[in-house]
Symmetry: C2
Subunit: 329 residues, 2 copies
Amino acid sequence: MKSIPGLFLLFLLLISNLSVSQNCSYVIVIHGGAGNIRPENLPPLVASTYESKLKEVLRVGDSLLNAGSTSLDAVETCIRMMEDCPLFNAGKGAVFNAEGKNEMDASVMDGKTGLAGAVAGVTTIKNPIRAARAVMEKSQHVMLSGKGAESFAKSQGLEIVAPDYFFTQERWNDYLKAKNKADSIEIIDKKHGTVGCVALDKYGNLAAGTSTGGMTMKRYGRIGDSPIIGAGTYADNNTCAVSATGHGEFFIRNVVAYDISALMKYKGLSLQDATSEVIMNKLKSQGGTGGVIAVDKNGNIAMTFNTPGMFRGYVKAGGEMKVALYGEK
Amino acid sequence: MKSIPGLFLLFLLLISNLSVSQNCSYVIVIHGGAGNIRPENLPPLVASTYESKLKEVLRVGDSLLNAGSTSLDAVETCIRMMEDCPLFNAGKGAVFNAEGKNEMDASVMDGKTGLAGAVAGVTTIKNPIRAARAVMEKSQHVMLSGKGAESFAKSQGLEIVAPDYFFTQERWNDYLKAKNKADSIEIIDKKHGTVGCVALDKYGNLAAGTSTGGMTMKRYGRIGDSPIIGAGTYADNNTCAVSATGHGEFFIRNVVAYDISALMKYKGLSLQDATSEVIMNKLKSQGGTGGVIAVDKNGNIAMTFNTPGMFRGYVKAGGEMKVALYGEK
């Protein structure tokens, strides 16, 4: 008689373990910027180069999360890969500011602890996202800027490079065009974009990160939304992880990343409804262009943008992967 | 027979006018920082000096709003007066960073338009709050930093001063104490504080602003919550205007100023309940010290802090004025 309750307990234990591992399947989402991305603006070879790179990044994210890495590690690694790739406006390949320099911003947030880190206006840190994470984990601060951020990164042993490491001919040509007013900055910048990544790991922890070179010809030490916690990046294990890309000023004023979390937490909206409300209603009505990627605590994802396209993709535990550049019909 | 409905209509018109002017009565609230402000830490003469200055600032705010100024003008003027006063850690009297320099941040937001402006890490702009407003009104950007912000301010005709304008012997002594580790920075900084102002004008428009010298001995180009829209400053005519002061890193991670607005907008909390939830529950449970001043669209005010004291005060249309330094029993 004693063995039946024992077996029943074992059965319950198995069930509960199964359900835990189901709930804790992982997902990772990336973006490489939103903007005037249309088939007619991207030669097929360029489009397929973007697609290949997004897939490569996602495969790395997938293998990390599958092997038990944290969402924070996966987010940092995927953003680092995009920073190292000249296709994106972050790290190598960043756009040039009004003085012809590359000046970058990045931020990261850990949904488990609520901790966050960011750097703004850095010019010599090879991977700004690594510096943002070091600020989060190794300093008392959330946001460091300029030379101070660089000297902190150096003190943490991060790789420092000469400013010309970030040079690419294509972005330099854009800079010259913008400087000579051959094209408006809006037209030039609409082809580029910030990068970002959000992830849910096997342990149920969310993380988000964003990295950017800002706007071509930006002046006056302008800081956009990417290094601002709550605007460009936000993560909370109770709701979602968000990374934004777009016209930064609108994203700051609308506290976009945190607003999505607040709509879920306080109004009970789903992730998709919350991102639609903010990107397709609020921002669009103000003329604020851009998009977000987001993942919630249950692994639901959203890739929402009010521009013609957004470089984006996701991969889920089990291997389901999707990469897309343009808006869906 | 015709005159009775006519009189009734006139009566209705009078009633409705009365109710409009009641709804549109103004209010202005200021703070000069939260911290370890206790009677035993402030000699009576110093305490009365703070009280007098707070009253002087409020009287100016009162007369401006009474004469029909906008909340934005009143907020700027009141903050400017506190920046010019060496009692507060903003403008003249700002604390010194690790390099022995004064490096200031400020931000402002207009609840009517949703526009916002901020400067971070400026060292030569006499009134950072004026620069923040110029960023909002005269640039395409929300946030400018460092030398870029200074060159923009100069281009706008704002008063530029030599960095030693901001010097005060008292703050310099604090810096030397911190440098020589005579006192911990926490102990030294707990006596100081950011300044801020929120107001509702006769036209029903809300505005908020914040200005600070940051933390004594701050390093690495650290940016706190004061110049971050959503963290240190937020205003929305549909909800409230908020200015924060305290341990900036906690205020950034918790998106404090916007969170108060979101709790009102999405959960229907009152202003007092929303500020209490954020300051007394969320922040306190994390060890985040500080406070906020806030005013809602109906003229209700909140001055909520989880520290022993906060320099604060308000004045309402009709002349009701209150100034206080310590927590109430």
